[in-house]
């Protein structure tokens, strides 16, 4: 064999080897010297993944520590978009996941195609994954590339629908709010970030919210986490304790609903009265109905407030109709939601305001308070020296304006104002005879206050308005709940505005007339207030001139208060961050000012009346037990549309005379008749409950929301009506 040939051939091999190594060497040289720096830059800019870490929202407790708003941990299985961009990969992964997640492949594909999920966050495949499955998927990372278990929280309201108006509900950040929340430091780009939309959920949003954390990871080509670059733990939200006592709240809500239901019964229906028309003839008040035709009360809505008049804390705040705040996170579609919470009537007309369940009437109802406003007129008269405690007036049932000339009156301007009608003689106004401020309050003489109203009209300035404003009328009370209405105190500017806005008839004079001040003096006309403002005003009368800022939140605790008994947080283990101190504003309230008013309000409850007339609340409170909290209060009946009696709204405000149990209770029932028969029984029952005489049913955790329901909230059980005794239409004197 020719060794030289073989050597030559081996040489070819060596040559090939040298060539290949040469290529490798040149390439290496190029990469590691020439390109090293630019490659380093690309490495530094490698892919990272930012995972937002959700904080647990602070919880809301009632006064006893019941968890009225809590959180449920929710695990969501999600998959990175990159991993499923290829059809085959996706089909394979979904098939593998389907059994674990118990979600059909088609459903996962539907989510993939839905186009509603953010491309920057993993695609959620199933919410509410069990812990076991979550762990199993976590351990099989190689089998489920890009699949992660995202931890989140779901807001739960264990005692819903109790106190829904106070607790509120959550919702997404709207376009209008976006800037606001950005300014607060919220990351509005986080998908699914929910904020409080009403109630304490909204007013305490920043306290409850906590702070998002974030983890930044370096990821590989499969978007799998390679390592952690930075980690900022989320800060959970702080817990909030309400002053609301859920036992009392439950009773208040049931009581309110019971009374409204009662008032709708045919037995309470009122007849269409016969009246003298301006042309001198007599006929039915409502011309569409015969004289004497009985019309039932609609009694559509109302509210009750129990407030501690020493601290301003609200123990109960009920508004009817109510709603279940779980609807907002119930997963029902928007069609169903709009059906439950309609924004307009069935024919596209404006929604009947009587039906709006989301309105918290205790702070958003802007009402004429009727006679229950009279103590503040009395205060203004006493404070301005217009009235002494013993100044008397002879009430003969009518009051004729003196500041308008007779010839003007003859042209049709209303100059004569009457008391309400008494049954005997029929159709005639009540005559109370000689009254002073105390008796005028006790029997609710209108003419006494008409006279004061005209006197204020004839005095330069706005003494009446200024003095009632001292009690907080016409301005926000400052309660820690959103969307409070500030009510109305009549002024020339206000009237001009109302005329301009066509709220009042176009022909109305643009400045206040004597009649306006007369109406204001008895809480009618342009004077309007919320039930809460009335409660604050009565509290200032009760506590000697301290106008309290009402509060539903009493304390803020550090995050993660441990649980106690089922449904409760263990407040003994809680770390107090802030106890909400009472805020007061003092107004003049010398005994000379307070005593005649207080005596009048006490006499309104206890009697006696005057001139053969009993006081307005006397009969109702006749069976009020001696052991119960002593109260002073005032009825109010606000006339409604057309002055039809069935449109009368019912008000009652009362405060405790016992400084150990310093409660003020206000109730207002729309279109429910006289104050003494509508709202007053509610207040009386509340005081009996506060006295411990009416036992309160214990509050229990609610059943889950029935999403097949078609009402905002299920009806509550009725409470016993014994405490409403004498709310029999037949025995009640048609008196305010």
């Amino acid at each position: 064999m020719a060794a030289d040939k073989r050597a030559a051939r081996l040489g070819v091999l060596a040559l090939v080897a040298a060539l290949l190594f040469g290529v490798v060497g040149v390439r290496l040289w190029f990469l590691q010297t020439v390109q090293a720096d630019s490659l380093q830059q690309t490495v530094d800019a490698r892919k990272t993944k930012v995972v937002p870490l959700v904080p647990e929202r602070g919880r809301i407790f009632d006064a006893d520590g019941r968890i009225v708003a809590g959180n449920e941990r929710v695990l969501t299985a999600a998959v990175d978009w990159d991993v499923i961009s290829r059809d085959t990969d996706r089909a394979e992964l979904f098939t593998r996941l389907s059994g674990w997640l118990e979600v059909p492949v088609d459903e996962m594909e539907a989510r993939y195609d839905a186009g509603v999920y953010s491309r920057y966050l993993p695609l959620p495949l199933k919410e509410g994954v069990s812990e076991d499955v979550a762990i199993a998927i976590g351990e099989r990372g190689e089998d489920f590339p890009g699949v992660s278990i995202v931890e989140g929280w779901r807001r739960v309201y264990p005692y819903a629908p109790l106190a829904s108006h106070v607790v509120g509900y959550m919702g997404a950040i709207t376009a209008e709010d976006q800037q606001h929340y950005q300014d607060l430091g919220y990351d509005t780009s986080v998908e699914g970030e929910k904020v409080g939309r009403s109630g304490v959920e909204l007013s305490m949003e920043e306290t409850l919210h906590g702070k998002w954390g974030q983890a930044v990871y370096e990821v590989d080509a499969n978007n799998r986490i390679v390592r952690e670059i930075s980690f900022e733990a989320p800060v959970n939200g702080m817990d909030v304790q309400l002053s609301i006592d859920l036992d009392l709240q439950q009773y208040a809500e049931r009581l309110l609903q019971t009374q409204l239901r009662l008032k709708r019964l045919p037995g309470f229906a009122v007849p269409n009265p016969e009246v003298e028309k301006p042309d001198g003839t007599r006929g039915p008040l409502d011309p569409t109905k015969a004289v004497g035709q009985r019309v039932p009360y609609k009694a559509p809505a109302g509210s009750v407030i129990v407030m501690n008049n020493q601290t301003g804390q609200i123990s109960a705040m009920a508004s009817y109709p109510t709603f279940d705040n779980r609807w907002f996170d119930s997963g029902v579609g928007s069609a169903k939601f709009d059906q439950i919470f309609p924004r307009q009537g069935p024919n596209g007309e404006e929604l009947d305001p009587d039906l709006s369940a989301l309105t918290n009437r205790a702070i958003q109802g802007q009402y004429n308070m009727g006679s229950s406003f009279k103590p503040f007129t009395a205060y203004a008269a006493l404070a301005t020296g217009r009235l002494g405690p013993n100044t008397t007036y002879n009430d003969q049932g009518t009051y004729k304006l003196t500041s308008i000339a007779d010839d003007v009156c003859a042209q049709g301007v209303r100059c004569v104002f009457r008391n309400s009608t008494c049954p005997n003689p029929p159709g005639e106004p009540c005559r109370y005879g000689t009254v002073n401020v105390t008796t005028a309050l006790a029997v609710s003489s209108d003419t006494f206050f008409y006279k004061l109203g005209e006197e204020f009209y004839n005095t330069p300035g706005t003494q009446l308005q200024d003095n009632v404003r001292l009690f907080g009328f016409g301005a926000d009370t400052g309660i820690d709940l959103p969307f409070e209405f500030d009510g109305r105190v009549p002024t020339d500017e206000l009237k001009a505005q109302l005329v301009e806005d066509s709220v009042l008839a176009q022909g109305e004079t643009k400045n206040l007339q004597p009649g306006d001040l007369l109406q204001m003096a008895i809480g009618q006309g342009l004077m309007a207030a919320t039930p809460l403002q009335l409660a604050v005003g009565y509290s200032a009368l009760a506590n000697g001139g301290h106008v309290m800022t009402p509060r539903v939140v009493q304390a803020i605790y550090a995050p993660e208060t441990p649980d106690g008994l089922p449904g409760f947080a263990d407040l003994t283990q809680a770390t107090l961050v802030q106890s909400i101190a009472p805020i007061t504003r003092d107004i003049p309230m010398s005994p000379e000012l307070r005593d005649p008013i207080d005596a009048g309000l006490r006499r309104n409850i206890l009697g006696p009346g005057t001139n053969d007339h009993s006081t307005t609340a006397e009969e109702l409170f006749a069976d009020y037990p001696a052991g119960a909290i002593p109260v002073a209060g005032k009825t109010g009946t606000a006339q409604g549309r057309g002055n039809y009696p069935w449109n009368d709204s019912s008000a009652f405000a009362a405060y405790s005379e016992d400084p150990e149990q310093p409660y003020t209770v206000v109730s207002y029932l729309e279109k429910s008749g006289f104050g003494s028969t509508g709202a007053a029984p509610v207040v009386k029952c509340m005081f009996l409950a506060l006295s411990g005489i009416t036992p309160l049913d214990p509050v229990v955790v609610s059943e889950p929301l029935d999403t097949t329901s078609e009402v905002p909230a299920e009806s509550l059980p009725n409470v016993g009506t014994e405490c409403m005794a004498s709310t029999n239409a037949g025995t009640i004197r048609p008196q305010d």
Partner: protein
């Protein structure tokens, strides 16, 4: 046979004069051996650096690699102790056994409708393709060395092609294109040295290209394998992002190492998970990032030393069989090193070919130790 070569002869005080200079045990190529040992040790370090963050116990991979190396060393000593003529005598049996195993695997692979590259034998995976590299080499060399001529005849050339072709087709069917290319490289090297005409070599090339083309067209190839090859030609295709990312990061790892590297256990890519299966497929990236151009050059130098020694032994061999064996091993090693480094620095498409002695994996390590055992065997017995 036996392990007599490992036993030193008694020292008579006059040096080892009782043993002949031609005694196989006195003719071990220590340069080759040391270069191989150095590479293997370096490989263990590379495997450690590339796997320590992957497992709870950072030593999991490297511990197994050391055990593989010890096992491979035992195999190598056994092979060295055997006269390579013995392999020639048993070439037929070895070859038939290999083909049977490959058939079995191909059947199993078809039944499983997926890629099956290994049999599970207890805890160990046996890759028949690795075995085939060894036995096919022996069968081809044995067959060609029977014809004592300066140039291989056309008939024997065809016979040689068939010897290589059968296992190659079976390996392509697995499908394991990487191993198939190693067989092609080996066949070309052996046939070249055996004296095949240029046109024969050309026809092998065409046939190989056709086989691989058919494999692609016939979808014998896995989608991921296809994707890996497509990356090389179509790197901007968004569908291939994952594969591109792997290669891009391998290139980045090597490049960012610069001249001196980032240092032992340094470098985000070696320590990260950006380069899938870096310990088996892209160990060169770990070397490049940590040790830079200097480290790469040192590694390449060790391979060059080994290649030069094999080439030298091919020269020294007094029989055709030894020369052919060395030539085949030379081309296999050259091809596999070039292919592995080439895919790491993106001058070759990605195949799953491991880097000899460096990559993690028992089958590869044992095969290469055995092959170098054959080379040593040729060297040890060159003077008989």
């Amino acid at each position: 046979m036996g392990l007599s070569m490992l036993q030193r002869k008694p020292n008579s005080g006059l040096g080892n004069i009782r043993s002949s200079p031609a005694d196989p045990s006195r003719n071990i190529d220590w340069v080759l051996f040391l270069a191989q040992a150095a590479l293997t040790v370096a490989g263990c370090f590379v495997v450690f650096s590339a796997t320590r963050v992957r497992t709870a116990d950072p030593y999991t991979f490297v511990t197994r690699q050391v055990i593989f190396a010890i096992a491979a060393a035992v195999v190598m000593f056994v092979v060295m102790a055997i006269d390579y003529e013995w392999f020639k005598q048993h070439a037929r049996a070895l070859y038939v056994a290999t083909v049977v195993v490959l058939f079995a695997l191909a059947a199993y692979s078809l039944a499983a409708a997926g890629t099956v590259l290994a049999f599970e034998v207890g805890p160990i995976q046996v890759q028949p393709a690795e075995l085939a590299k060894f036995t096919t080499l022996i069968a081809l060399c044995a067959y060609l060395s029977e014809e004592r001529g300066d140039e291989v005849s056309y008939a024997r050339f065809l016979g040689g092609l068939m010897i290589v072709g059968l296992p190659m087709v079976l390996i392509v069917a697995q499908p394991d294109l990487g191993s198939a290319t190693v067989l092609i490289a080996m066949a070309m090297g052996v046939l070249l040295v055996a004296g095949a005409k240029a046109r024969y070599i050309l026809s092998i090339s065409v046939l190989s290209a056709l086989t691989l083309g058919a494999a692609f067209i016939g979808r014998l190839v896995n989608p991921y394998q296809l994707a890996r090859v497509r990356v090389f030609f179509d790197e901007n295709n968004p569908d291939l992002e994952k594969e591109v990312y792997q290669v891009t990061n391998a290139v980045r790892a090597v490049g960012t190492g610069g001249i001196f590297g980032k240092g032992w256990l340094q470098g985000p890519l070696t320590n990260g998970r950006d380069i899938p299966v870096i310990w088996a497929d892209f160990p060169f990236a770990a070397v490049g990032e940590q040790f830079g151009l200097v480290g790469c050059a040192a590694l390449l130098l060790l391979f060059v030393v080994i290649l030069v020694r094999i080439w030298r032994i091919a020269h020294l061999s007094r029989d055709l069989l030894g020369t052919y064996l060395c030539a085949g091993i030379f081309t296999m090693l050259l091809w596999q090193v070039f292919q592995n480094i080439g895919m790491t620095i993106k001058i070759m498409p990605v195949t799953g070919l491991p880097m000899p002695f460096i990559s993690y994996g028992g089958s590869s390590l044992i095969t290469w130790f055995a092959l170098l055992g054959v080379v040593q065997s040729v060297h040890m017995r060159r003077m008989r």
